[in-house]
């Protein structure tokens, strides 16, 4: 089963400009590792080795993963995964 992950513009350099990527992962951490296999370097940008980096927010179906099961949050088919990085320009 596959889930679509929307990659926000500031991280798209790492995905060769792909805006949406597919994964078959069933948890958030597997999803991040799977992404990193396809697009090396993206894991480090999102994940600090223990948790989602503190300047990145990840929502699964609109819910903040920090208050679900963190990196172990389940991803089911059709889930919408959104990554929201902090940005500074203005």
């Amino acid at each position: 089963m596959t889930t679509s992950i929307k990659i926000p513009a500031p991280l798209r350099k790492l995905t060769g400009n792909q805006a949406v990527v597919e994964t078959e992962a069933e948890t958030l951490i597997d999803l991040i590792s799977d992404l990193d296999k396809k697009y090396p370097g993206i894991k480090e940008r999102i994940y600090d080795g223990k948790e989602i980096r503190r300047f990145i927010n990840v929502f699964v179906n609109g819910e903040d993963v920090r208050f679900k099961d963190g990196i172990k949050t389940k991803i089911t088919k059709g889930s919408e995964v959104s990554i929201v990085p902090a940005i500074a320009g203005g």
């Binding site: 500031p10 902090a86 320009g89």
Partner: protein, 344 residues
């Protein structure tokens, strides 16, 4: 309707504002931090809408590459080489002489931020770096002043409202700044003016709602927009306030105000250079940063040092994110260069 409210007749006809709302706007003092892309659009709109007082804080001067998106400036301002806050106030006076305007040409830091926001009914964010936002967040939460965060890069932007005691604060969402060099900035990844306008428009709308007392209409979510692909998303962040033990708004530890977080800056005497040291140490990925910087200036690096030349300045960056900026003794110029090109 009072004669001096006539100019706002179309806004007063809008039933959510009305004459009462217009009077509330007129009685409001707003502080605008940062007068670049977002800041000029916000200042223009708030002054036209008839707020009572606007204090504009900015540390930069007008440059030619600002004119593509910074709507209050023109070629004459570039030739005159004047500070943005001053140029903005000059224009805004011609737009609406009823508004009391104040220009502050200053670098916002832990020594002055509390005094700069004092007395504001609301602060609106037009800044361009994380450090100043953490400082503003600390100062506003401490003094119970609501503020509106907005930021954009490329075609992508974010905004949220921070109402102390009612919503999550900036640190609830972004507990730390990204590692230096990791996040794109407008000076490394570019920015197009439509995303500036839309983020600034949302910030302005939220400001008008707040200042006219329409609290129930305020946005409670984190909004993300990508104007190139036409996406608009809202994320419910209400949980953050209840479930996260935020160092700032829950524990009331104002680490940026106390300079326990953020950067420190020292002048390297006699060298026409300034050193910036980050307190939260992060390793810089030179490869990635060099890739980004090579479009803007000359860049070389090895294992120990990255050197980047832009205009008359040279930035030497160490892997622990410490930087020496040559070509200036001015702290605000040095901080500006660090924020623009290294990004924090």
């Amino acid at each position: 309707m009072q004669a001096n409210l006539n100019r706002y007749s179309r806004q007063i006809l809008f039933s959510e504002i009305g004459e009462q709302g217009q009077r509330k706007l007129r009685d409001s003092k707003v502080v605008l931090a940062g007068c670049g892309a977002l800041g000029t659009v916000i200042a223009n709109s708030l002054v036209r809408a008839g707020i009572g007082e606007l204090k504009i804080i900015d540390r930069d001067f007008v440059e030619l590459n600002n004119l593509q998106r910074q709507i209050l400036f023109d070629e004459e301002d570039v030739k005159r080489n004047i500070p943005k806050a001053i140029a903005a106030v000059e224009k805004l006076k011609k737009i609406n002489s009823q508004v009391k305007l104040e220009a502050v040409v200053a670098d916002v830091n832990f020594t002055n931020v509390e005094a700069l926001v004092e007395g504001a009914k609301l602060l609106v964010d037009g800044t361009d770096n994380f450090e100043v936002r953490f400082l503003l967040n600390d100062a506003c939460v401490k003094a119970d002043i609501p503020w509106i965060y907005g930021s954009c890069v490329g075609s992508y932007g974010l905004t949220m409202n921070i109402i102390p005691g009612k919503t999550p604060c900036f640190r609830c969402l972004f507990e730390t700044a990204p590692l230096p060099g990791m996040a794109p900035t407008c000076d490394t990844a570019g920015v197009i003016n439509p995303i500036v306008n839309i983020i600034a428009a949302i910030e302005t709308a939220e400001a008008i709602k707040y200042l006219t007392g329409k609290f129930e209409a305020l946005n409670k979510d984190l909004i993300t927009i990508d104007i190139w692909e036409g996406s608009f998303e809202k994320f419910n962040i209400a949980d953050r306030r209840d479930k996260f033990d935020c160092p700032c708004c829950k524990q009331r530890k104002f680490e940026f105000l106390e300079a326990k977080q953020g950067s420190s800056i020292t002048s390297l005497c006699g060298r026409n250079a300034v050193q910036i040291t980050q307190k939260s140490i992060g390793r810089v990925d030179f490869q990635e940063l060099a890739e980004r910087l090579k479009k803007s200036g000359e860049v070389t690096f090895n294992k120990y040092l990255l050197k980047f030349s832009i205009d008359q300045y040279e930035i030497s960056l160490f892997p622990d994110s410490r930087a020496i900026i040559k070509g200036t003794n001015d702290f605000s110029v040095a901080r500006g260069l660090y924020a623009k090109y290294i990004g924090t």
